[in-house]
Amino acid sequence: MIDKTIKDAKEAVKDIQSHAVLMLGGFGLCGIPENCIAALLDRPLSSLTCISNNAGVDDFGIGLMLKKKMVKKMISSYVGENKEFERQLLSGELEVELIPQGTLAERIRAGGAGIPAFFTPAGVGTEVGGGKEVREFDGKLYLLERWLRADYSFVKAWKGDSAGNLIYKGTARNFNPMMAAAGKITIAEVEELVPAGELDPNAIHTPGIYVQRIFQGKDYEKRIEQRTISST
């Protein structure tokens, strides 16, 4: 099997240039590529476009990249609680494109699957529909939406093998599988990296064909945004 193993996050991000389009997996801070984000912070990058469902918080996740002014544009569905984000947005330093979450997921899925455009009902009659083709099918209106693709996709998985096969855990899967397929170069960081052949082929969420680089990450913080405890 083709071996995609690289040493670490530093090696993973060494060829990324300013102005690149990046996808970063995760929902909130759950399932984000922590190691790669840290390594990106050490590179002199600017004017990046980041496609990610959320934009991190002030001191974690993509929020750290915003703080270093590496990001020109965010493409997200919800940008949550992030003061520096708000400041840059209001000052015009940062551009934001908000996309309905399902449309975002499907546009990324379409990018990986070679579907250049598709129709979806989300956003019909709202400002999201502005400038987009509207068409009726079976009596209901739909918007035409285009695929999204990236120069680099960063995904975080639970287990991976040297062939690039990935298994995610819990709801940390979220946007990672679609982004893995939609990146020209996809970089996977995993909590546990095993030799090819050790993962059950029937349990794999992302087939290795989509992954160009894989490494075992370290020191995962996995910050929790809303620690909610049951009283019982």
């Binding site: 929902f27 909130g28 801070l29 759950c30 399932g31 469902n53 997200s76 569905s77 919800y78 940008v79 949550g80 708000e86 947005l89 209001l90 908000l98 309905p100 979450q101 399902g102 449309t103 975002l104 997921a105 499907e106 990324i108 899925r109 979806t120 009902p121 989300a122 956003g123 019909v124 009659g125 709202t126 400002e127 999201v128 639970w158 995610y168 855990k169 819990g170 709801t171 940390a172 899967r173 979220n174 946007f175 990672n176 599988p177 679609m178 969420h205 996995k222 910050r223 929790i224 945004e225 809303q226 620690r227 909610t228 405890i229 049951s230 019982t232």
Partner: protein, 219 residues
């Protein structure tokens, strides 16, 4: 006037056995606390889970298991995990029976506005536009009036809308109302002690009052 908990309690009575349900953030999340034990239902979390369980006890907390409100959760027995494309395929494809969500405004033809206030920082629509465009049944949990006393049940939404002609039912602190196919808020129930006159007064959109309106029965 109903408290938030009572709005959630009243909405819980709309739930039927065997339903797959998506609960939005805020009052809708509270609905989960009032679903009768004898009903077998499944809660969908649009970040990739069918079968939300109770919040975890301290030792169960897992950063890799959260709901769409980013709260730590557990999984119910028989749950399934999937990615965001599958999750919204499920929603868009009409497989979720019932969506319960909050709103800032609802219009008499069923338009809903709940994602953006001009002049304020816009955080984004998240999954709301997908949910309202495709759910089989949409129930809105909201306050009947804003803090300044103006009606939030309008002829037309003033705020940017999230979806058109999609709301089926509304439960407010004052009433239960149904959106009629030809437009208009049909009054179904009054909150305990609230008169029809008050509801009429506080509903800017067309209110339809079909005879005597019963008081809500809360557990």
């Amino acid at each position: 006037m109903l408290s938030k908990e009572q709005i959630a309690q009243r909405i819980a009575k709309e739930i039927k056995n065997g339903q797959y349900i998506n609960l939005g953030i805020g009052i809708p999340t509270l609905v989960a606390n009032y679903i009768p034990d004898e009903l077998e239902i499944v809660l969908q979390s649009e970040n990739g889970l069918l079968g939300i369980g109770p919040f975890p006890v301290e030792e169960q907390v897992d950063a890799d298991l959260i709901n769409a409100g980013k709260q730590t959760i557990t999984m119910a027995r028989g749950s399934a995990l999937f990615d965001s494309a599958e999750s919204f395929g499920m929603i868009r494809g009409g497989h979720v029976h019932l969506t319960i969500l909050g709103a800032m405004e609802v219009s008499e033809n069923g338009d809903i506005a709940n994602w953006k206030i001009p002049g304020k920082i816009v955080k984004g629509m998240g999954g709301a536009m997908d949910l309202v465009s495709a759910a089989r049944q949409i129930i809105v949990a909201m306050q009947h009036c804003s803090k300044d006393g103006s009606s939030k049940l309008l002829k037309e939404c003033q705020l940017p809308i999230t979806g058109v002609r999609c709301v089926n039912k509304i439960v407010t602190d004052l009433a239960v109302l149904e959106i009629m196919p030809q437009g208009g808020f049909k009054l179904l129930e009054r909150a305990p002690g609230v008169e029809v006159a008050e509801i009429r007064n506080k509903t800017e959109g067309k209110l339809i009052v079909p005879g005597d309106i019963p008081e809500m029965v809360l557990p």
